[in-house]
């Protein structure tokens, strides 16, 4: 196995208890030999103690005492497996409790979203909700897993009908890349191995898709954005005048000699060196963590952003955001919140609630301004200082914010800049 050329892919799964999500994850982990013997024995013993007739694979991820007591998933669970081609991180999100909050969290970093459909039921309310969240969070690739095909006699017609129904609905969404796979997670059809029961299906298996989907363009590599995290100044004899701006490239590609501008000051300079522990680099691109040195001594500190002179983000204080609310205490119109955006800290006031989005139908409710936990709404905020923003559609890093309650310090909402 050549691990040095293996890539990382993050995907999210969402679903309820009955659509076979645990079985699907269990199947992928089992078939890629990622479930260990002692884990298997431990969950076999737990399942038996609970009086369950089959091994409950959900116990692999439901690690908390209260989850095991109640038989539910409370929180996003992360699972890991790898094949010779890729390493996978699954953000497994529960479908029932706090579904929006958890789905949004899991989706925020995902390359791929898996949406499960029970072939017997077709597109249901929950399917639409999952697809809408995947679209709002701009997950680049969506895989619709039409599961339990064994229970509809592996019928091509059933598959085609569901596919058509989903496509009709998805045309209203902003999903660029949708893929359909008929499968039976229980029997393993089209999960890792090709199904012998569905010779009419000419597409790839789920595992083949996950191993091969092109993720090289998932980052924005056009618009150069470098939010400064911290300044490195060793102040030793050897590195007396060293002043490096440490950060993670959020967009575009930076090279030595590039003409750059620092925000908010607007001062311009040239990249003298892109430095790292492993030596000087010729180029830096997302999501690399590097240190940038400039030719001129200009004032740059945490929260500032280094960009290309001819391609700058919007510098704004009045910003429209799609917000997903996470807290029991509803969003307060004209309320003040702390805000985090890239490496900047600010405060903001909620100036207006434009509409609440019905995440089952995409209907915009202009009347209801009461934004409660798990609601999604379009709001206008004003920040205490200018933020350097792109639309979320353009860049998921420079286009996202979180809202923090100033009294409790809890993260109460997540926002995508429009």
């Amino acid at each position: 196995m050549d691990y040095k050329s293996s890539e990382l892919l993050r995907f999210t799964t969402a679903g309820s208890v009955d659509d076979g999500k645990s079985t699907l994850i269990g199947r992928m982990l089992y078939d890629s030999k990622s479930i260990f013997q002692d884990q298997m024995e431990a969950i076999e013993a737990s399942s038996l103690r609970r009086g369950e007739s089959e091994v409950n694979l959900a116990l692999l991820t439901d690690g908390l005492k209260s989850e095991r007591e109640q038989g539910i998933t409370i929180d996003v669970a992360y699972r890991y497996f790898s094949t010779p081609k890729r390493k996978f991180i699954i953000a497994d999100t529960p479908g029932h409790i706090q579904y929006t909050r958890n789905m949004v969290t899991g989706a925020s970093t995902a390359n791929v979203a898996l949406v499960l459909i029970d072939a017997r039921h077709g597109v249901v309310e929950q399917t639409r909700r999952h697809a809408i969240i995947a679209s709002l969070l701009q997950i680049p690739h969506l895989v619709v897993c039409i599961n339990k095909m064994d229970l509809v006699e592996y019928s091509e017609e059933v598959y085609e009908n569901i596919k058509e129904e989903f496509e009709k609905f998805a045309s209203k969404l902003e999903v660029k890349d949708v893929h359909f796979i008929p499968m039976s997670a229980l029997n393993g059809d089209n999960v890792v191995d090709r199904s012998e029961n569905m010779s009419w299906y000419g597409g790839s298996t789920l595992m083949y898709y996950l191993e091969n989907v092109h993720i090289g363009s998932d980052h924005n590599i056009i618009d150069c954005r470098f939010p400064v995290q911290t300044v490195i100044r060793p102040q030793t004899d050897e590195f007396h005048d060293y002043r490096g701006y440490a950060g993670r490239v959020a967009g575009g590609s930076f090279k030595k000699g590039d003409k750059v501008m620092a925000l908010p000051s607007g001062f311009t300079s040239t990249i003298k060196k892109i430095d790292s522990f492993d030596g000087e680099m010729t180029e830096a691109y997302p999501p690399q963590s590097v240190t940038i040195l400039l030719e001129d001594q200009i004032d740059i500190s945490r929260g500032d952003m280094i960009v290309r002179v001819n391609n700058v983000p919007k510098v704004e204080q009045d910003i429209d955001v799609m917000v997903c609310w996470f807290h029991e205490r509803p969003l307060a119109l004209r309320g003040k919140y702390a805000l985090m955006h890239t490496t900047q800290d600010a405060r903001c006031v909620i100036k207006d609630v434009k509409y609440k989005l019905d995440i089952n139908s995409l209907h915009r409710n202009l009347e209801d301004k009461n934004i409660e936990m798990n609601d999604i709404a379009r709001v206008t905020i004003r920040s205490t200082k200018p933020l350097f923003v792109d639309s979320y559609r353009k860049n998921r890093i420079t286009g996202s914010v979180i809202f923090i309650d100033e009294g409790t310090n809890e993260t109460v909402g997540a926002g995508m800049i429009i």
Binding site: V76, I215, I232, I402, T411
Partner: protein, 300 residues
């Protein structure tokens, strides 16, 4: 130009980002160092994050007094090499002061007592962020852990009320007296750690490679023979080729029969093994939720 990192470089970049966030968001962080491979990886990543500067926080070792001597030798050499400041929190001291009571009998371990020594050291140093090398793939309670994990003024973890973490925005805001545990290598698996250490040619303590050692078997786990463990009359000491997959206190760290003497052989062994690395940790086996129970109280 192919703008795609390999998975190890992407994990490295994520961890460096977290380490720099900690340096920027907190006033007085500390890196918890056990001498195990994960904390060695953490120190290595911290060197990368702040290069060419030194690591801007001290290392904290919670010493149970029941160490493998190789761990202490390695620790002292590393600290000297990178010019770091080392703080030692002592479990022996906590016992001597009567803050904790030593367990007795054949299963006695100081593992649980570490929590008190750790919380005391954090309080004395007024540290507001403690960096740890825990990974989500290690244990089911750790699978629910955040990168930035909030602790109240008693050092407790409330797993049901954690802050959601989205994109790369990490909320480290807290009230006076509270602190954070931060886990920069959350997304790494055991295999990732080994592959990365091999790729980067990082030197590890000799304990991780197969060597001959006196061992005995208890509940299906091989334990190293040591004056700190009381043996039952039926337990027979024998010499075997073994290596450690995790390193903790001598009393609760299982060793594994192995012939792997190089990092590449270890990678092969890890890739084909059917047992998790904590399968040898008797501290996890005390009950189904023993990790969660200890974590809630402030264990790392």
């Amino acid at each position: 130009m192919n703008y795609q990192l390999n998975h190890l470089k992407e994990l490295e970049s994520e961890s460096i980002f977290i380490l720099r966030e900690v340096a920027a968001q907190f006033e007085n962080p500390v890196l918890m160092f056990s001498g195990g491979k994960d904390s060695i990886l953490m120190v290595y990543l911290a060197q990368k994050a702040f290069y060419p500067g030194k690591i801007p926080f001290p290392l904290l070792h919670v010493d149970t007094g029941h160490n493998f001597p190789e761990t202490i030798e390695y620790r002292d050499a590393l600290v000297e090499k990178i010019g770091a400041r080392l703080i030692v929190g002592s479990v022996q001291e906590a016992i001597d002061k009567g803050m904790v009571t030593e367990e007795q009998g054949v299963n006695a371990s100081r593992n649980g007592l570490q929590t008190v020594a750790l919380l005391t050291a954090l309080e004395e140093g007024k540290y507001d962020a403690a960096l740890g090398g825990a990974r989500r793939d290690e244990e089911k309670a750790r699978a629910k852990e955040r990168f930035f994990s909030h602790r109240d003024e008693f050092g407790q973890w409330d797993p049901k009320n954690q802050r959601p973490e989205l994109w790369n925005l990490f909320n480290g805001k807290k009230r006076y007296g509270e602190h954070f545990r931060v886990f920069p290598i959350s997304n790494w698996t055991e295999l990732d750690v080994w592959q990365y250490l091999a790729m980067e040619k990082v030197e590890l303590p000799s304990l991780y490679y197969a060597h001959e050692r006196e061992v005995f078997e208890r509940d299906g786990v091989l334990l190293a023979n040591s004056p700190y463990i009381e043996k039952k009359p039926t337990e027979v000491v024998k010499k075997m080729m073994v290596r450690c997959r995790t390193i903790g206190d001598v009393t609760c760290t299982g060793v594994w029969a192995s012939k792997a003497t190089t990092t590449d052989q270890i990678i092969e062994e890890v890739a084909t093994t059917r047992m998790t690395e904590r399968g040898g940790r008797t501290d996890d086996k005390r009950s189904e939720t023993s990790m969660e129970d200890r974590k809630k109280k402030g264990y790392f």
